[in-house]
Amino acid sequence: MRMKGRIINEGNAEGEAVVSREPIGFYGGIDAKTGIVIEKGHELEGKSVKDKILVFPRGKGSTVGSYVIYGLKKNGVAPKAIINEETETIVATGVILANIPCIDGIDVSKIKTGDKIKIEGDEVIVNE
């Protein structure tokens, strides 16, 4: 399956999807040192985003979240890429500062955890 989106930060990437149906708040939600989701009760709690293609509808919470995305990259535990339904300013700011490929405008309900994802330009390729 192929889906076209809007490039928020360009770059090609390939990896395994980790999908959250809920929004992600990076500040207090993901540990910048380990890349592990720490928000209590979050569906991804305890899972690592390191080297994954992180898929979620949109960001939420504190604007400090942008800095957490930057910290993930600096500490070598960032996702390879981010795919959103709608990238709001917190995530957009974070991926640009950290230089992580990011696409939005994608129907994320069509992707599930474990899918093989390829990002080429503005295209998301699932399990091909």
Binding site: R6, I8, N9, Y27, A32, T63, V64, S66, Y67, V68, Y70, G71, K74, T87, E88, T89, I90, A92, T93, I96, L97
Partner: protein, 393 residues
């Protein structure tokens, strides 16, 4: 989005990596919000300064960005930090916190940001003019600049304000466009004597991100408007308001046919009760959210003549106002009565929950909004005069 030749050069990295990143961030944010071009800003004001707010991720970003060569090219001012930058030891700020806070300040200094460390830049070195485009981040200062001065700024985040400072530009959307600056709700004030912070807290909660047009406010000092705007930006997301007969451009606005709401003395009393979560003696009385003007410091100094505080009194202001207070003897008067003037920080962004406080009394509708969650404090809200009268002798 249309970019000038100069902006293209920035985006292509001709001015270095930090400028490239900053321009890219602004272009993407512009795309997200549908901006057609950039506007030049005459000043910027950066938030996200307290170590308590941004933690290690923010600290590491700022140090990294300074290392990459980020340098501001328009006058850029800084929001309050988490401590008095000179006298933190005297007021028992935690040592480890102070060390991290100093690193944040040094990173901003390296980027050539003016370490004004105040939420009232318009009182100390950064007074904009009407119709100037700005990229300010502190929500209360954004409201003041838009409403009381008639300048044009969106409510920036920490990184986007810094990006604007580095490129001298911001994408043209939101409150940079006249058509988005029209009032969307009329607020009729039917109270005579009231605290502007309390009114702001109530109205912000009611109108959320609308643009209120106030009627019925007969007079207001600059400090009154400071408290009104700050509280509306905290309990709601109000970045612009008008007060009939008082703020610029109010007379040019069309209000017929707008949604309308009325605020009475009873509404304000009810809101005061809702915000008051303690009735014991406060551990701390804290004024200066936003930072006190020199006129307020003088008023407090005069009020406390021949009085003694029965609890701790902390007054937060800028180093600029403090210097005048020292010169005028206000600081000495206030200290004689048992109070202190603390610069560069405030009761919200300082780590007061680590410093042994549990109940704080304030006059600020903004502080009353943030203290329970962000600082784990019980709150008493009242006028400066009532609080000082009650807790001094």
């Amino acid at each position: 989005m249309y970019l000038t030749k100069e902006e293209e050069k920035m985006l292509e990295g001709e001015y270095g990596e930090a400028t490239r990143k900053a321009m890219k961030l602004l272009v993407k944010l512009g795309d997200i919000y549908g901006a057609e071009k950039m506007v030049e800003v005459s000043s910027a004001q950066a938030s996200g300064v307290s170590y308590k707010s941004i933690g290690d991720p923010g600290l590491e970003f700022l140090e990294g960005f300074a290392q990459e060569g980020a340098r501001v090219i328009v006058p850029t001012f800084l929001n309050p930090a988490g401590m008095d930058l000179e006298n933190w030891k005297k007021f028992d700020f935690p040592e480890e916190f102070a060390e991290k806070q100093a690193r944040i300040i040094n990173a901003f200094k390296r980027m050539r940001v003016t370490i004004s460390a105040t939420c009232t830049p318009y009182y100390a070195s950064a007074l904009p003019r009407m119709n100037e485009h700005l990229a300010w981040a502190e929500s209360s200062a954004v409201s003041f600049a838009n409403s009381v001065i008639g300048a044009l700024t969106n409510r920036e985040g920490g990184p986007s304000a810094l990006a604007a400072a580095i490129t001298g530009r911001t994408p043209e959307y939101g409150l940079h466009l006249e058509e988005n600056r029209k009032p969307t709700i009329v607020v009729e004030v039917e109270a005579e004597e009231f605290e502007f912070g309390l009114l702001g807290n109530l109205v912000g909660k009611m109108v959320k991100n609308k643009i209120p047009y106030f009627k019925g406010i007969k007079k207001a000092t600059t400090d009154d408007l400071k408290y009104l705007g700050a509280a509306m930006a905290a309990s709601g997301a109000v970045a612009l308001y008008y007060v009939e007969g008082i703020t610029p451009k109010a007379s040019e606005q069309e209000t017929t046919g707008l949604e309308k709401t009325t605020i009475t003395t009873e509404d304000l009393e009810k809101r005061k009760e809702e915000l008051t979560t303690a009735d014991e003696k406060p551990d701390l009385i804290a004024f200066g959210c936003p930072h006190l003007s020199i006129a307020e410091v003088k008023w407090i100094s005069d009020f406390l003549k021949n009085r003694k505080m029965k609890t701790k009194l902390w007054l937060f202001t800028s180093t600029a106002a403090k210097a005048i207070a020292d010169r005028m003897g206000y600081t000495e008067n206030i200290e004689r009565a048992g109070g202190s003037i603390i610069t560069d920080t405030c009761m919200v962004v300082a780590p007061i929950e680590q410093m042994g406080f549990g109940t704080v009394a304030v006059n600020s509708g903004k502080a009353a909004h943030y203290l329970p969650g962000f600082c784990k404090q019980k709150v008493i809200i009242d006028s400066m005069e009532n609080l000082l009268e009650k807790w001094s002798e």
